[in-house]
């Protein structure tokens, strides 16, 4: 913790950044913290309760100099932002934190969050400084990362349809998933367009399907699996199941995983039929 606080103080003192965005604790809860002056930096913490992906807050700091405390999964979002020209690398200072899992907020037994199960990014793949992990380093669960998706794909069509119908029926179109997603940074979201109106705005089953499908598709090749959407959803729709399906397809069809490097083209920008089209029975079916 001291390392983290010292780094934040140094950055603020030397005016390298205007704000450090990190985590703090208030009345037993961990919340995001904006720290503007070195004397406030003592509140900063990092432990396994630090679930939020703070990259999301960049939406409000686009042209400012800021430092962010980022875990491996969260830091991938920065690569996507850089690929999509949303920020300048020199404007941000990444305080990477080595992480061996955060807790599962939704489950009572307080085990690790689902997303940590197959984590490969204990240390961020992009950073300016790293805060070392203290304590024991428990490796992630090995095995097939897409096992749950493969199982789900095996179900008959009607069963899958019913599953999602039930899930989307619950959606109240609060757009919490969108607000918390660092990749959903559009000035005007497609659901808010009315000329032409692509997506029905009322929370009907059809409109809900439209919204949830569009949200997932807009994340194809961009979702970095920080899991924030699913965590934020007040009606517990398993949104990561949709995201993971697309991640799996991107991996299998285009050998592409989002947010691995800052200097590669994003998947949609780097499509060449000769290289990328692999037709197999699965696609024809």
């Amino acid at each position: 913790m001291k390392e983290l606080i010292d780094k934040a103080k140094e950055l603020l003192k030397e005016k390298k950044v205007e704000t450090v965005i990190g985590y703090r604790e208030i009345r037993g809860c961990v919340v995001p913290a904006y720290v503007d002056s070195p004397c406030d930096a003592d509140c900063l913490i990092f432990d396994k309760r630090c679930v939020y992906n703070l990259a999301n807050y960049l939406k409000w700091f686009k042209n400012k100099n800021v430092a962010l405390v980022l875990k491996g999964c969260d830091a991938k979002s920065i690569n996507v932002w850089l690929q999509e020209f949303q920020i300048k690398r020199e404007n941000i200072f990444i305080i990477g934190v080595e992480c061996y899992g955060v807790m599962n907020e939704k489950s009572a037994d307080a085990g690790l969050s689902d997303k940590c199960g197959h984590c490969e990014a204990h240390v961020p793949n992009i950073y300016d400084a790293v805060i070392k992990h203290q304590g024991d380093k428990k490796e992630s669960v090995q095995g097939e990362p897409f096992k749950d998706i493969q199982e789900f794909e095996k179900l008959p069509h009607d069963e899958r349809w019913d599953f999602w119908k039930k899930q989307f029926e619950k959606c109240i179109k609060c757009y919490a998933c969108r607000e918390i997603c660092p990749m959903c940074y559009c000035k005007e979201c497609i659901v808010e367009r009315n000329i032409p109106q692509w997506i029905m705005s009322s929370p009907s089953v059809k409109g809900n399907f439209e919204w949830n499908m569009v949200r997932a598709f807009h994340l194809a090749g961009r979702c970095v699996e920080c899991g924030e959407c699913e965590r934020a959803c007040p009606v517990n729709i398993p949104l990561m199941k949709l995201n993971k399906k697309l991640i799996k397809e991107m991996k299998e069809l285009f050998d592409y995983s989002a947010g691995q490097k800052e200097d590669v083209k994003s998947a949609i920008d780097d499509f060449y039929p000769e290289k990328d089209i692999k037709i197999d029975d699965k696609m024809i079916r």
């Binding site: 042209n63 999509e84 020209f85 949303q86 559009c186 000329i195 807009h218 949609i268 920008d269």
Partner: protein
């Protein structure tokens, strides 16, 4: 808004399957819609009818339900202009190709026609008048590549009085043709017919030639291209040099000559061949002793400098730098030719290990009286005269497994030519040709092959060569099949000539992406229509000719060069060009500045613009945009729209189907 719907019978092409009257009745029921039918809408009376209805009924937009817009969209746009409407207020409902020609059920086809027409009405309601932009034409043409195709195109354009610039990457223009001894099927001496053209081009006041140069960047659009040309440092002053040749006589450094296909030497200061245009040498910095010593010790004065000492004109300039030239052009012709297939991938032919297994280009040099052997056919390993030669056709042609599925078109002919020339040089030589098929479809080509077989006694064996070995005495043993007699044959040869196929120039991809013209899976440039527009490309103002489009012989290259030149002249005969207004435009209020649009635009038509609030957003450079719509599908927020085909219009069309 008042919309007129004009339904065409197209004789019986449409009315035989579709109940035209019902289409008219159903459409006329729509609010604000007037509908009528006629036998031939595209005829003069048909068009006049549309014009008079536009005027009488004060129509705002017109739907023609007829054939494909590919055929008559232009016709009817002009009809609208004559009727006083903006031409882009026209919509075509294709009820022929997409309906009457492909369906038989009259009721269903009629229903489909009604729907297609209704969709067109839905779209037309949101049509906006569009206005083409007028641009000027820079009347100067850039020709990339100075082979026979490029030279011919430059001569044709310049003789019509327009400025032309040839950019050639080698020290001389001429291309492959400069290497040949004679040309099929007439056996004229290659140099005798090529050199006058090279001289004509270089002496024309309207042709500027940059040799040892490359085009580094091309921007702009039809009528207004900007090119950046790098003229590489020659180390010889072009103005001062008289071409006397003392420098290359005196230069002590000998290396393999590229022009001689590594069969002979050249100096470090050299002209590639005697008739080179311009006849000014270049210094090869890699091998030159002076440059090498300077690289090792930059502080020293540098070694050698013999050429500098002897040059009577004082033309050697070791400190020359590359020159960058920026110029504007109205049109571009790409004539970058071909490369020879690298036969090293054929292990069975020795994979390049046997000196006496030569390529066809090498053999051209051996035949050539100004070549490394002065026209004597001496085998490279021991300079003994070669008396038995086996020619192997289709090496790197028609071979899927080697990535060349196509036929290189000229190898049958040049092999026959080479076998004939061998017999002329050494009348009692033995020539064998292994072939798969003989392709001799050109004027006097078949006769030429017959002559080679009958008069010159060249032995043709139909089959593939399976293996070439070297025997102890230095001869080559060629083992192959003769499928006509069904036997295996073995020939002991002094030399083997591989008819290596014509493959694309390695720079094709880079060049194509830079200029914005497509290439096919074999990496030859793609013409805009295989039959009707063979010298044009998808990009307006850019033309192709010669072997960069596909393997072809000299007559075809010259003919295509003439075609490309005439297209350029057609362009230059106009003072102004009208550019299509169906273009993309960005709604900058909602643009995120993610620039997926820029990444997918094949024409580099998207630029950055910085708004007042400092956010960076996309902007379409209208003169570069082709309206292909790639950006529209890539934009996550639908901030880009295609004028005349907006998202809103498409959605309206779909909704009209409900």
């Amino acid at each position: 808004m008042k919309i007129g719907v004009f339904v065409c019978h197209c004789g019986t092409n449409i009315s035989a399957v579709i109940d035209v009257q019902k289409v008219v009745n159903d459409l006329a029921k729509m609010p604000g819609v007037f509908a009528m039918d006629y036998k031939f809408m595209c005829s003069d009376p048909g068009q006049n009818m549309i014009i008079s209805e536009i005027k009488q009924k004060k129509l705002d937009a017109v739907i023609v339900a007829a054939c494909s817009p590919c055929l008559h969209e232009l016709t009817f746009r002009n009809t609208l202009i004559r009727g006083g409407l903006n031409p882009y207020m026209l919509e075509i409902a294709n009820i022929r190709e997409q309906d009457s020609w492909v369906h038989t059920d009259r009721d269903k086809a009629t229903e489909k026609a009604v729907r297609l027409a209704k969709m067109a009405v839905a779209k037309a309601k949101r049509n906006q008048p569009l206005f083409p932009q007028e641009v000027s034409v820079e009347k100067s043409c850039l020709v990339i590549g100075g082979g026979i195709a490029g030279i011919q195109a430059a001569i044709d354009i310049s003789s019509a009085g327009y400025q032309t610039v040839i950019v050639e990457k080698e020290p001389s223009i001429g291309g492959k043709m400069a290497m040949f001894d004679k040309t099929f099927p007439t056996l004229d001496c290659s140099a005798c017919i090529l050199t006058p053209k090279m001289v004509q081009a270089s002496q024309s006041k309207k042709v500027k030639i940059y040799t040892y140069s490359e085009v580094e960047e091309i921007g702009g659009y039809v009528g207004n291209f900007n090119a950046r040309i790098r003229v590489k440092a020659r180390s010889v002053n072009m103005e001062k040099c008289t071409g006397c040749g003392i420098c290359w006589q005196k230069c002590p450094v000998k290396v393999n000559s590229e022009f001689e296909q590594n069969l002979g030497p050249r100096k470090a200061v050299y002209v590639p061949f005697a008739q080179a245009v311009p006849n000014v040498p270049v210094i090869d910095c890699v091998n030159c002793t002076y440059y090498r010593s300077k690289r090792q010790n930059p502080e020293s004065k540098g070694l050698c400098r013999i050429c500098e000492k002897f040059c009577p004109a004082g033309a050697i300039e070791f400190d020359q730098k590359d020159k960058i030239i920026e110029e504007k052009f109205g049109a571009v012709i790409v004539a970058t030719g071909f490369s020879a297939f690298d036969h090293k991938v054929y292990g069975e032919y020795g994979a390049g290990r046997y000196k006496d297994v030569v390529t066809a280009l090498q053999f051209e040099r051996l035949l050539n009286s100004s070549g490394p052997t002065q026209g004597k056919i001496l085998r490279p390993s021991d300079s003994k005269e070669a008396r038995t030669i086996v020619f192997v056709q289709c090496v790197g042609s028609r071979d899927e497994s080697k990535g060349v599925p196509y036929c290189s078109r000229v190898c049958c002919m040049y092999t026959a030519k080479q076998a004939l020339l061998l017999k002329e040089h050494i009348p009692d030589a033995n020539a064998y040709v292994f072939y798969i098929d003989i392709r001799a479809a050109g004027k006097n080509y078949e006769e030429f092959i017959e002559r080679v077989q009958d008069e010159y006694g060249v032995l043709y064996l139909r089959g593939r060569v399976s293996k070439i070995y070297r025997t102890g005495d230095g001869a080559l043993l060629v083992r192959g099949a003769d499928t006509l007699s069904g036997t295996q044959v073995e020939i002991s040869a002094d030399m083997v000539v591989l008819a290596t196929g014509l493959v694309s120039n390695p720079e094709t991809v880079k060049l194509g992406q830079m200029i914005g013209i497509p290439y096919d899976k074999n990496r030859f440039f793609t013409e805009s229509h295989p039959k009707l527009a063979p010298a044009e490309t998808q990009t307006a103002g850019v033309f192709i000719c010669g072997a960069c489009q596909f393997p072809k012989d000299i007559p075809d290259s010259v003919a295509q060069a003439g075609a490309a030149a005439s297209k350029v002249l057609g362009l230059f005969s106009q003072e102004h060009l009208m550019l299509e207004p169906v273009l993309a435009c960005v709604n900058q209020k909602i643009c995120n500045g993610c620039f997926h649009c820029r990444a997918v635009c094949p024409y580099n038509a998207i630029d950055e613009e910085i708004l007042k609030d400092k956010s960076v957003v996309a902007r379409v450079i209208e003169s570069k945009c082709h309206g292909c719509g790639n950006c529209i599908s890539a934009c996550p927020v639908s901030a880009v729209d295609l004028k005349g085909y907006t998202n809103e219009q498409i959605l309206e069309q779909l909704q009209s189907l409900r």
